[in-house]
């Protein structure tokens, strides 16, 4: 249970209480000023029992609890991380000569933090794209897309097999980054951190990442939506409408979608239905989420 609450107390997690509060503030400003909705409607929308106790949201909670236990079983995979990192570090010797000239620590920190962020974001995009395009993987990712209501907690509506793939992706990216950067910069390697997490992660989450899984259709200027994924764009990714299928795979950067031809910018005041085509209420049953229907 302490692990469960850690989700809300750890600034590395998207559901950190501080990020939820900042998202609520951003939503309030957006809905009040840009969309000119009455305050009472906004507040009642935040606490709508129709959303938080919907079959879809209840399914989110069930998967969240299930994954809480399942994640513990993944500990052995994480142990392999050191071996992989050393393997990468060793193989760098065969490709490059190891520099001994020292680069200022601040520059190394900037390079490492940036490289980790970019590689992490790109690999998320790539894996996400594969989850949609490869039929076998879609069977797992479908569980996430069967959500008909989006709440910040939908971020943890994840099939356990998908959680394994996410962990493997993270391990490969971190090992690659650490192995390569340690080869070039040795002990100077470190992360620019805020509250113990990468600067970029904290900025991304502080600026309302939680609104991606919500009904608040916060959008950016369309030029910006080609660079950064807005909440409204991610909501398009969850759209039931076939013309939105397989768009906006990106996590933070929309650049990858722009290059890959899958970037769709949001429409003004878009009102989108979420979920899968032809899905019944049974889709929210835990058995169907795990095994499929």
């Amino acid at each position: 249970m302490t692990d469960f609450f850690a989700n809300f107390l750890n600034p590395e997690k998207r559901l950190f209480i501080g990020y939820l509060i900042s998202a609520a503030f951003i939503a309030l400003i957006w809905l009040r000023i840009a969309q000119k909705k009455p305050l009472t409607e906004i507040v009642s929308g935040f606490f709508s029992t129709n959303v938080w106790f919907s079959k879809s949201a209840l399914a989110d909670y069930k998967l969240m609890v299930l994954n809480q236990f399942f994640i513990k079983l993944l500990a052995p995979i994480l142990i392999g991380q050191l071996a992989l990192t050393i393997f990468i570090f060793e193989n760098m010797h065969l490709l490059f000569s190891r520099p001994s000239a020292s680069i200022p620590v601040w520059m190394v920190m900037l390079i490492f933090t940036l490289v980790l962020f970019i590689l992490d974001d790109f690999s998320r995009y790539l894996l996400h794209r594969l989850m949609h395009r490869i039929p076998l993987l879609w069977r797992f990712h479908k569980a996430h897309h069967s959500a008909t209501n989006l709440t910040p907690l939908t971020v943890l509506r994840t099939h356990p097999i998908e959680a394994v793939l996410f962990s493997l992706r993270a391990i490969i990216v971190h090992s690659l980054c650490l192995g390569v950067c340690f080869f070039f910069f040795a002990e100077s390697v470190s992360l620019i951190e805020i509250f113990g997490s990468s600067m970029f992660v904290v900025i991304f989450h502080s600026l309302g990442s939680n609104l991606r899984h919500s009904h608040v259709n916060l959008s950016y200027w369309s030029w910006l939506e080609k660079i950064l994924v807005s909440p409204a764009q991610h909501q398009l990714h969850h759209s039931i409408n076939p013309k939105h299928y397989d768009c906006n795979f990106g996590a933070v950067l929309a650049i990858w979608d722009s290059i890959g031809g899958s970037c769709i910018v949001s429409e003004k005041n878009q009102d989108i239905k979420f979920g899968l085509k032809d899905q019944s209420d049974n889709a929210h049953k835990l058995k169907n989420l795990i095994i499929g229907s």
């Binding site: 590395e12 994640i71 060793e90 760098m92 190891r98 998320r124 650490l178 470190s190 992360l191």
Partner: protein, 465 residues
């Protein structure tokens, strides 16, 4: 009597009595001085007052450290004299008096007139080319050293001063202790405790077996009364107060000096992560206390089992000390290679760094050879270690010594890339961790990486996009 420190200083009588009672009240209290153990031999009628004797071992340490100085002089007859000669007047070249660190003895004969050749491991030395025994490798190295300036062959990056000294430290002292005295000589019918070691001796068979094994380790007799840092300073001849236990103003090489692997043990222990030196000397002390306690009768099987337990503690820790050294110099070699590569890329002169690289590799190789002369089959570990290090450092042009031709000349062949050989050094470090569990890990080239993985590595998360 060696134990003069108590009387030399004005120690309150109560303390002396108190500690005497404390020691005698428990049969298993550990002595803290490897000296003055009484004569337990029945029917001894000579004039000796103690059964402790290991001057021959200290003479061999003095021969080894003197020989190390001679390699760079290139005088073949001097090298041979110290290795296999019998002149009692051979000067102790090292350790010699340095400032207030006055050495009591000046000739080998003042300790005991010995040589090294008779006690060098006769088995195959697999890590050296040419299928040679220990004495043959030593002779080969002397000859090579005599043919190059200062015992240093830049073309093959061979530093014979380091190679010979680190190799012999294993092939003579380590081998004699762990493969002979702490091995077959602990059996019941070999040097029994109810008979003199040899006719007329003041010590029993087992007393002397144990004392010789202690001498080969090279620790001061008063090691348990001082810290690892003190022992390190003694070996470096920096602290006469720590060395001169009996306050005669001189350092007695027969029991106050630190030599050989005892010095290396102190160098790791002073970092605080390990206690090799005190664990080893403590086990020697426990064993000697046990032998003394049976008062000249033969050891029972269970007593010998206990003694073998102490011997095992000594062997395991001693082996780790050598493995720590292999680990350390693999790291030094790696760092040197990084520097050399950078200098070559910028078109500079590498001769100074090449000298250091050769020195560190010589230490690495010498310790690696030493690790394999304990008289036990190390199996695959041995094969891996010798392949990773090879018969020479990686030379410019990415060649390496791969053998010796019929004229005794080195044969070179294409080998690894520069980076590939650096990886070998990393793998040598891994091997020492995996096979010997080294802890001190000086010059650990991947420690920073492990820490980074721990602090910045991936964590499991079910967060979806």
């Amino acid at each position: 009597m060696f134990n003069k420190r108590l009387t030399a200083k004005a120690v309150p009588l109560t303390v002396v009595l108190g500690s005497a009672i404390l020691i005698s009240s428990s049969a298993f209290a550990r002595s803290n001085l490897y000296a003055d153990f009484p004569i337990t031999l029945k029917d001894y009628s000579g004039s000796a007052t103690t059964s402790v004797s290991y001057k021959g071992q200290m003479a061999r340490h003095a021969l080894e450290s003197s020989l190390k100085k001679l390699i760079s002089k290139g005088d073949m007859s001097a090298m041979q004299s110290y290795y296999s000669g019998d002149d009692a007047n051979r000067a102790i070249i090292a350790p010699a008096t340095k400032g207030d660190f006055v050495i009591k003895q000046s000739t080998i004969g003042e300790l005991s007139n010995k040589n090294l050749s008779g006690k060098t491991y006769k088995g195959l030395i697999p890590g050296w080319p040419g299928n040679m025994t220990g004495p043959e490798v030593a002779a080969f190295m002397f000859e090579k050293a005599a043919n190059v300036d200062g015992g240093y062959d830049a073309a093959h990056a061979m530093d014979y001063t380091q190679l010979v000294s680190k190799f012999l430290m294993g092939a003579v002292t380590y081998n004699q202790a762990v493969d002979n005295y702490l091995d077959e000589k602990l059996e019941a019918d070999n040097k029994p405790n109810n008979k003199p070691y040899k006719d007329g001796a003041a010590y029993t068979g087992k007393e002397h077996v144990w004392d010789e094994a202690f001498g080969y380790f090279g620790a001061p007799a008063h090691t348990l009364t001082i810290s690892a840092q003190d022992v390190y300073n003694i070996a470096k001849q920096k602290d006469i107060a720590a060395a001169d236990y009996n306050y005669d103003g001189k350092v007695d090489l027969s029991n106050e000096m630190a030599f050989g692997h005892a010095y290396y043990a102190s160098s790791y222990d002073k970092g605080g992560k390990t206690t090799y030196l005190h664990d080893i000397v403590g086990a020697y002390m426990d064993g000697r206390d046990l032998i003394t306690s049976v008062n000249g009768r033969a050891l029972s099987d269970s007593e010998r089992d206990e003694l073998k337990g102490y011997a095992q503690t000594i062997k395991t820790n001693w082996e780790k000390v050598i493995a720590e050294s292999v680990f350390k110099y693999a790291g030094s070699t790696y760092k040197d290679m990084m520097k050399i590569e950078a200098i070559i890329e910028s078109g500079g002169d590498v001769s100074k760094e090449w000298r250091t690289y050769s020195k560190h590799w010589g230490e690495l190789k010498g310790f690696a050879l030493a690790l394999q002369v304990a008289g036990k089959d190390m199996g695959e570990t041995s094969v891996k270690l010798n392949r990773l290090i090879g018969f020479s450092p990686l030379l410019l042009g990415n060649t390496q010594v791969t053998g010796i031709d019929s004229n005794g000349e080195y044969v070179q062949s294409d080998a690894e890339t520069w980076g590939g050989y650096m990886v070998h050094m990393l793998k040598v470090q891994n091997l020492m961790v995996d096979e010997f569990g080294v802890v001190a890990r000086s010059n650990d080239m991947t420690a920073g990486l492990s820490e980074l993985v721990q602090s910045l590595g991936a964590k499991s998360s079910a967060e979806n996009d």
